[in-house]
Point group: C2
Chain length 332, copies 2
């Protein structure tokens, strides 16, 4: 090999290992000014679902997606958008977050939420909240009004009180449907923590016109959960992650699997350190790192690319961007 060839070789090896040459070439996503994706949980979603219920889910997803899209169109920051969209999903009792949260073993509702700002990697998370109407807004307040990231239980409640967040009587979180689910499980088998394969969570990720990414996730956890069990939602890097250099990710599924595999930050790390595209990283994590039935994720990349990946029968989800894409789906 001539010296010049060696030089080219060395340069390509060196450059290829850190630069954009790595990964399979993908068609470039062009002229996406802003983008948004949402989810309302993944799992074994019955294809014979009552048509009225299916319509209600689709309408709720469309409504939340259109709302977020509208905010982005009007130049809202991605951080505002993910918070506002998740608030809307928390207020809708169809989803297992906020108003529609499932019940713990003790018949209470304990809520978790996390938010992350891709511009600063600032983040906020709360767990075990029982009287805050919108846990996602409490998570944002932790991020912005405290030097900390993660507040738990009665401490998080005390912080909510001090910061003037909207509180509700715990009774507010009662819904007949979720109560019946708990009773069914309690009757069927002691120790079962959830209906098999049903993972409820809501989440939103967004890219705004300024190129900033944000992610937000909120949940009521598992029906019949005990011992102050916490899943992946408030664990930054597991269920929620955002970095302007890579992507914003929000997950839903078997929380423990998402924690031990650091799913959300792994997608980002595969992009940053292995040079994968968002689509490639999301697919590898969902299909190779996780096991079948574990759950799914939504993500938006710095270029506006959107990933909606899951290895369950379905995932309530929606995606829209400034190029005109607007879609809502439940099954494949």
């Amino acid at each position: 090999m001539k010296p010049f060839h060696l030089f080219v070789l060395a340069a390509l090896v060196a450059f290829g290992c850190n630069g954009p040459l790595v990964g399979n070439p993908q068609p470039a996503v062009e002229s996406i000014d802003f983008a948004i994706a949402i989810h309302g949980g993944a799992g074994t979603i019955d294809r014979d679902m009552d048509p009225d219920l299916e319509r209600a889910y689709r309408e709720a997803l469309e409504d939340a997606l259109r709302f977020g899209y509208g905010l982005l169109e009007q130049d809202s920051t991605s951080l505002d958008v993910v918070e506002q969209v998740v608030r809307r999903l928390e207020d809708d009792e169809l989803f297992n977050a906020g108003k529609g949260a499932v019940f713990t073993h003790e018949g209470t509702n304990e809520l978790d939420a996390a938010i992350m700002d891709g511009a600063t990697r600032g983040c906020g998370a709360v767990t075990g909240v029982t009287t805050v109407k919108n846990p996602i807004s409490l998570a944002r307040t932790v991020m912005e009004a405290s030097p900390h990231v993660f507040f738990t239980g009665s401490g998080a409640e005390a912080f909510a009180e001090r910061m003037g967040l909207e509180r509700v009587d715990p009774e507010y979180f009662f819904t007949q449907r979720r109560w019946d689910s708990l009773q069914k499980i309690l009757k069927r088998e002691e120790g079962t923590v959830s209906e098999t394969g049903k993972h409820g969570t809501v989440g939103c990720v967004a890219l705004d016109r300024s190129g900033h990414l944000a992610a937000a996730t909120s949940t009521g956890g598992l029906t019949n959960k005990r011992f102050g069990r916490v899943g992946d939602v408030p664990v930054i890097g597991a269920g929620t992650y955002a970095d302007d250099a890579t992507a914003a990710i929000s997950c839903t599924g078997h929380g423990e699997q998402f924690i031990r595999n650091t799913v959300a930050s792994r997608v980002s790390a595969m992009m940053e350190y292995k040079g994968l595209t968002l689509d490639e990283a999301a697919r590898v994590v969902i299909s190779k790192v996780l096991g079948p039935g574990d759950g799914g994720l939504i993500a938006v990349g710095r270029d506006g690319a959107i990933a909606l990946e899951f290895n369950t029968e379905g995932m309530y989800r929606g995606a829209a961007d400034s190029s005109g894409r607007f879609e809502v789906a439940i099954w494949e």
Copy 2:
């Protein structure tokens, strides 16, 4: 360029991006059968420390290190070793974990711990524990005796009760030195959560003769902490991570910085996806991803390499391996 050259080029580019060619060549660590590292916190450690206190710290580190080394030599699993060594550090009131835990704003002691098994990526974590003598053992029990990963507050206590862990009166965690620290802060300035730059935590990472890695971390958190504040310790991927494919990592420092930068799992990701050595990955994360004064980490790689990195004035630490290395240090 001839076709053969192109072939070599393509092969090297392809291989170089995923394989061992990436990163600066390092002298290979050879014939390390087992290895262990420990830490007892990082921060602004006064170089004019009372000589008796300094001697006590060195002796405690040496004792814990020798104990762990002995267990590894007798074929204990890395998981047993990290748990047992951290128990010993928790029982020593010199360190901010277990017996020596600092006080919250309310004058209570709330303990956090996490453990992770590199062979399975199984993990367990607890936060806000007040009556469990050794939180690290509770974390391991969560990992092994529940389908979950993360238990909080009174729920974690109830689980400890059910599983028969050793309980103590909260009074057990009273130490005059930590109480005085709280009083000093309360007097000085309301709202200050810790003595500047002092980050107390204990941790242990180990590689056993079977090639399995494990990590364990335990802490009392920040003096004067409020609102159920949780740092990086029980956040898997932030303060604690282990994967037999890469390394076992335990961190100590400004917890919020370790959470938002997913420090422990980032070290692993840089090794797995960028091909860095443990030493390179640890250095990049501590010196480039984190800021000066944020803290430090200990790590052991699958080949027995040990990293002890920090960007603070000091870190209580120790390292030993089967090749005869045995060292304890506080400052650089």
